[in-house]
Assembly symmetry: C2
Homo-oligomer: 236 residues x 2
């Protein structure tokens, strides 16, 4: 019949009030909160309690706290960084396996590439072109810059996610890449041929995106991920 009454701590109340003000738009990104010594008066609490509340808001990604005379708590533009961090914690903590990450990536990369193909701007296309040339130059330089190549590969995939315009894909793929990186470096039997194959796949995906051919982008990307996942079969 009745819900148990929740006895809010003082700092929680402060967190909720400020969070609501941000969500409602009363507090807009870029705007600054009053200084701590004034805020504590407005809320009628001590500075220590206020600071606990501000730390929580900071951790939630809602404010940024700067020191110095012009410093203070600044309302942040909400982004998906936090979601990535949280997912990263979850991945590390639950000991998500390479297999899990790989399966998950299979589910997403195709869709991301398809959306990117639909939504890429002229600027996006030239960005991809530039990244492709960068990757090619690393490939030619040979073994000593292989990890530079791998990083560029990752940047291309993230650029595609970015072009999808979908914050969810961006956030989730960011975490996945951050955590899958070590696996790929350690377990893939990198050699000249594999890098070349990887590069060819990238070129095909980029070409499909440039042609605004979303279905070809989807299939090419999915095929790429599947093939490379298969190369890692049997890895713990």
């Amino acid at each position: 019949m009745f819900k148990t009454v929740k006895q809010n701590k003082a700092y929680q109340d402060v967190v909720e009030q400020i969070q609501e003000a941000i969500m409602e738009g009363t507090l807009k990104p870029g705007r600054q909160l009053p200084a701590e010594r004034e805020l504590k008066e407005q809320f009628g609490i001590s500075r220590g309690t206020l600071r606990e509340a501000l730390r929580v808001l900071e951790q939630k990604g809602l404010i940024e706290i700067r020191t110095g005379v012009t410093g203070g708590s600044i309302i942040r533009e909400v982004n998906s960084e936090n979601l990535s961090d949280n997912l990263g914690l979850l991945i590390r903590n639950r000991a998500v396996s390479l297999r899990d990450l790989a399966e998950f990536r299979e589910g997403m990369e195709g869709g991301v590439a398809a959306l990117a193909a639909q939504r890429a701007t002229e600027q996006d296309r030239s960005l991809l072109q530039g990244l492709q040339e960068e990757a090619e130059s690393y490939l030619k330089e040979g073994r000593k810059v292989w990890d530079a190549f791998v990083r560029t590969d990752e940047r291309i995939h993230m650029a595609l996610a970015s072009m999808s315009g979908n914050q969810l894909f961006i956030a989730v793929l960011t975490s996945v890449y951050h955590n899958i990186h070590t696996y790929y470096e350690n377990y893939l039997p990198w050699n000249k041929e594999l890098l070349q194959e990887n590069f060819n796949d990238l070129c095909n995906i980029i070409a499909a995106v440039s042609d605004r051919d979303s279905e070809r982008a989807r299939e090419t990307a999915l095929g790429h991920v599947r093939r490379f996942n298969a190369y890692m079969e049997g890895v713990p």
Copy 2:
């Protein structure tokens, strides 16, 4: 050449130390940290600073803080609650739209269903059977239990995610469902025919999973999500 030196605040240092201990497994879920008055001695900081650190860890979902004589900071089993909260914030802030959620779901549901088909046990299959019957009975009861039907629908999708055995799918889909619910309830033009169509889709997916036919499960699930997303086209 060199990275900029990061001047850590004291509380950040504490957060990192405790977080790492949890991630490495030195601190296991259920275990309690020392009391604040002792912890502050171990870290060589004041209680206020320590409490800021604990609040951050609490917000990250890594510890739970209880009052009382047996209280203290208890290491938590990390779950996807935080992820859901975060996604909720992004949605309320309009950083993630219904369209984003729908696109994302399209990317995942097919893969989940395919994995479920490969990995479902006998027990899983009978669980699905039970849920299907439950949904059918709600459907027959008519309008007054429609939201019971919708909740069962959600449980079926989550059961499939669970059967995929992939913690990533489970965590992410849990968050997505928790947050997409309001959209579906408000914007889908629910009526008898739509519910029936929904139910038929579910039956087909469940049948494919029961037959261990992963490709049919993938296609059926994907088609289902796509069709229902299309019904919501034009929604903000």
